[in-house]
């Protein structure tokens, strides 16, 4: 379980907090989506939920982050890394720059955890297979397409087998097939009990992936509830979030006097 309670975070050098009084609890096996306009505070929540803010990037946090009931304040980043993994939007900056092949790149995390080489290899192999990118194992990680690099970055996190995963727009550079692969992998993780927090602009993805969605506006959580309810909320566009296509289709049908219930899951 991962829980933020009363979290207010201010970046170093800034007077104004980027997020205010955020309460967010994620149960084991739960996939929670975060949506919001640009600069609303989604990435900041991801950084705080992973412990990197303030442990690694500085700044000031009031409120608490607890993981499996243990407060994370003051813990070293490598200790946090064993508990919660975070993936960023740009795959280029998630590459370590010190490995020659995709396999080594994916194996880097487990190796850093001090696992025996046999276990490291097994985890790297499994992570690559989960995302169906085993054929990239021998490739130079610096010479991949954006989508391939993002899948490798996600595989690198999954190979560490964290109990909690935070992903900041993980499919931003992926095509529909890549997006589907990532969604399948995340579902598989959740079914094994992993806690997932996913910030995304693609509401269609969250609509099929998450049981619960929260909306961030001006650094505050303004909605938190079941996915269908939140993504069908009339205020969503006012918060700068485009509703998923099924909601838009149902509304378009209703506006023309047609029955919106023909759209599966329409609210």
């Amino acid at each position: 379980m991962l829980e933020l309670r009363g979290a207010t975070y201010r970046y170093a050098g800034y007077a104004r907090p980027a997020i205010h009084d955020v309460d967010l609890a994620l149960a084991d096996g739960e996939i929670v989506g975060i949506v919001g306009a640009n600069e609303a505070g989604k990435s900041t929540i991801c950084l705080v939920a992973s412990g990197l803010a303030p442990a690694s990037i500085g700044g000031g946090l009031t409120g608490t982050l607890t993981i499996d009931g243990e407060p994370m304040a003051g813990r070293p980043v490598h200790d946090l890394a064993a508990r919660v993994a975070i993936g960023f939007q740009d795959p280029a900056t998630q590459r370590s720059g010190i490995t020659g092949t995709v396999f080594e790149e994916v194996a880097l995390g487990p190796m850093n955890l001090g696992l025996p080489a046999t276990e490291t290899i097994a985890r790297a192999r499994a992570a690559l297979e989960l995302l169906r990118i085993g054929d990239l194992a021998g490739r130079d990680p610096a010479r991949l397409s954006g989508g391939q690099a993002q899948l490798v970055a996600i595989a690198s996190l999954l190979a560490m087998r964290p109990r909690h995963v935070v992903l900041d727009e993980p499919t931003a550079q992926l095509d529909p097939e890549g997006t589907r692969l990532v969604a399948d992998a995340l579902r598989a993780l959740a079914s094994a009990g992993t806690v997932l927090l996913v910030a995304e602009q693609k509401t269609d993805l969250l609509d099929t992936l998450c049981a619960r969605v929260v909306v961030v506006a001006d650094g505050r959580l303004v909605a938190d509830g079941p996915t269908g309810e939140v993504l069908g909320d009339e205020r969503l566009e006012g918060w700068g979030v485009e509703p998923p296509s099924r909601v838009r289709l149902a509304r378009a049908l209703a506006a023309r006097g047609l029955d919106p219930s023909v759209v599966e899951g329409a609210t």
Partner: protein, 274 residues
């Protein structure tokens, strides 16, 4: 290569074997630390011994090693390129400013002396020896193999990261500069033409290159931290370059040779006279 291969399933052993960079010649197959010791001893040796015979002998040995490695032509070209800018300043400074009794010719207030030419020639031979030794190491050693070997010998993975990231940073910055240059050109920036036009185009190019590189370093260090890079303790490496008993003997032998050269030079037995 040393790896846990003996402990692995056949599939995994094959996979790990594929991670090892290619070693196309017997010289490439030497342990990276052995090659680093050769480069260090050759460079310091050329500097300490001085004169002509010692550094020329070192150049001969290095070129022979380069021939074995199959990089002779490239090595000579690269070493000459590295040496050339320094060579020009050394020649200008030494030939015309070094005091001597035999004046070869005079340009304005400057006398070119035979002693100056001799000093410049000795310096160039040393520089070329150092340049070939270091270039041979660079051409025959995969940086990752070197840092993994150092890590196996007890060096911190953090140092490994700094060393490898530095090597990797150069091509990454060149690629980013190319992208930014193309973007700036598409918005009308003139980066071609005369010296003045190129100088004017330099600033709008270098500022975003430096700033984006700094941002990338910050994001990359975050990405590494979340992969437990800062965790203390030893890592069980997937592979690292092998080391052999005779290589260890060669390394100690070379270190001893260098020590003898230093002592000989201090005692005046080995000198810069020939």
């Amino acid at each position: 290569m040393e790896a846990p291969i003996g402990l692995l399933e056949t599939d995994d052993a094959t996979l790990v074997a594929r991670l090892v960079p290619p070693t196309p010649s017997p010289y490439h197959r030497l342990n990276p630390t052995t090659k680093a010791v050769i480069a260090t001893v050759a460079s310091l040796g050329a500097f300490v011994i001085g004169g002509y015979v010692g550094p020329l002998a070192i150049i001969g040995v290095v070129l022979a090693c380069a021939a074995v490695a199959g990089v002779l032509r490239r090595l000579v070209r690269v070493s000459a390129l590295f040496t050339l800018p320094i060579a020009i300043s050394v020649i200008l400074v030494s030939v015309f400013t070094r005091a001597g009794t035999t004046v070869l010719f005079t340009i304005g207030p400057f006398d070119a002396t035979l002693e100056g030419v001799d000093f410049a020639a000795q310096t160039l031979v040393r520089l070329f020896a150092i340049s070939t030794a270091i270039s041979l190491f660079g051409m025959t050693t995969d940086p990752r193999a070197f840092v993994l070997d150092l890590e196996r010998r007890g060096l911190s993975p953090r140092f490994a990261f700094v060393a490898a990231a530095t090597v990797e940073a150069v091509p990454a910055m060149v690629a980013r500069a190319g992208t930014i240059q193309a973007a700036q050109r598409s918005r009308g920036l003139d980066t071609e033409g005369g010296l003045l036009a190129r100088a004017r185009g330099f600033l709008p190019l270098i500022v975003p290159v430096v700033l984006s590189s700094l941002t990338e370093v910050e994001e990359r260090s975050l990405a590494l931290e979340v992969r437990a890079f800062g965790r203390p303790g030893k890592r069980d490496l997937l592979w690292c370059p092998g080391d052999r008993g005779w290589e260890r003997a060669v390394r100690w032998g070379l270190a001893l040779l260098l020590l003898v050269a230093i002592v000989g030079r201090v005692a005046g037995i080995v000198g810069a006279t020939v």
